[in-house]
Symmetry: C2
Subunit: 239 residues, 2 copies
DNA sequence: ATCGGTATTTCGGTATGCACAATCGGCCCG
DNA sequence: CGGGCCGATTGTGCATACCGAAATACCGAT
């Protein structure tokens, strides 16, 4: 039961597991996290659990709550702050991706996005939540900036938590995929300005949805993408 | 020697101290960091030192080196990656600061910047290195986004390390202060586009300096700032 | 029954001990 | 003389014990 390869390190395992459990809402925002309880849950002593908690604390997924720890609750203010950072980083990511990604890489990204379609159609909100973040992280990967990709990853660890609450209506997923298509279309045309604008709109849409106030409006006219023209089916009447 | 107020926590103290020692180059990039040695240095056991190292590792100031730890060495590639993120965040910060800071707050920022002048004139590179980062963090504070301010803080923890090496010539400080004046001028005029452009130029200048290749050129014509017109003294001949 | 004070329990912060992995040096063999 | 094997050393990973503080529960007095 000891550490040999750095990958199989218990503290890293616990860190990854705990983060996954938080992202997947097996721990919900506000849930208390006790060292001993987590140690029992994941099998280990308090030491590696503490290390995991320290990291999660540093990354903002966990906060101090009284004498203990708890899963972070994102207030509307926090969401706005988070998404301002997100807007900055996503715009940079898409710009760099356009400048550096090969046509082949963009084709793979297109395929990835098309893979979201069946998930949306089967109304698997949780799965699409993951895929949505994965899509944005893929763009960051194409920016050929590992640090940016890492920051994007951490950002989306929080984004996934936030999105879960207010995005339980499918419309969110449909809108998101439509946004993704426009972003990708601009990327394929190597149109940095439009891609940045679309990304900005995409990010701000979520905040608008979350806050409830209206968003300026989309942006540019050109929507003739070299993509199979698929439109989201009409959303059913609100049940 | 035990924990009562959360602020006086030994592990936090050690974290802050170690980070300060790294930022101030009392530990240089590449220096090995041993748990026991650090425990002796800061007075404590390995446990709180481990916690501090875990956080620094997560933040990228420390890396694993073989079986141990070492202060991160930033390769030219890393610097480019770091500064791409910096460009994105600094532009967002200056934009939000313009939108949200009061005239009084901008006046305080002006005063802060003017305080840099004597430091530059007395050639205190290390001190200006700190003040330069502090200036940018002040802008982030005016963005009224605590998360962005925190990210800026972490970014500059790394920036300070990077800057130390290639910026040992004063010209860097002079140029930096001139850049700061132009950024601040645009902020006082509430000119978002120019401020972002100046910030972008400022950030890219450092990368250019670091990499050695030329930078596009400054940007806009308007340089009539409502600031005391002070020009950096002619730098002495390269000794 | 309620309030206040105290005892108890709980939980995190720190120190320490043990085990294992990696590294480096020396020694033996080719 | 050089290279590979092996052991001692070093330093981290994990577990556990101890301490003190804070929350809680209990109990007695009013």
């Amino acid at each position: 039961m000891n550490a040999r390869p750095a990958a199989a390190q218990l503290s890293r395992q616990i860190y990854a597991q705990l983060k996954a459990d938080i992202s997947a809402f097996r721990f919900k925002p506000g849930d208390p996290l006790q060292e001993l309880e987590l140690a029992a849950r994941y099998g280990g002593s308090r030491t590696p659990v503490r290390e995991a908690l320290t990291r999660l604390l540093d990354e903002g997924l966990v906060v101090r709550s009284g004498r203990g720890y708890a899963v972070t609750i994102f207030a509307p203010e926090d969401v706005r702050h988070l998404y301002e950072i997100r807007e900055a980083l996503e715009k940079m990511a898409v710009r760099l991706a356009i400048e550096r990604a090969s046509d082949g890489e963009l084709a793979l990204l297109t395929a990835e996005m098309e893979g979201h379609r069946p998930v949306i159609e089967r109304d698997d909100i949780a799965a699409f939540n993951e895929l949505d973040s994965a899509f944005h992280i893929s763009i960051a990967r194409l920016s050929a900036n590992p640090l940016l990709e890492q920051e994007m990853q951490r950002l989306h660890d929080k984004v996934k938590i936030v999105r879960n609450r207010e995005l339980s209506r499918h419309q969110g997923s449909f809108n998101a995929m439509a946004d993704h298509r426009r972003i990708l279309g601009a990327m394929l045309r190597r149109d940095v300005a439009t891609a940045e604008a679309e990304m900005r709109y995409h990010v701000r849409s979520v905040v608008a949805l979350y806050y409830g106030y209206q968003e300026p409006r989309p942006l540019n006219p050109t929507l003739d993408l070299p993509l199979p023209d698929w439109q989201p089916p009409l959303p059913g009447p609100p049940s």
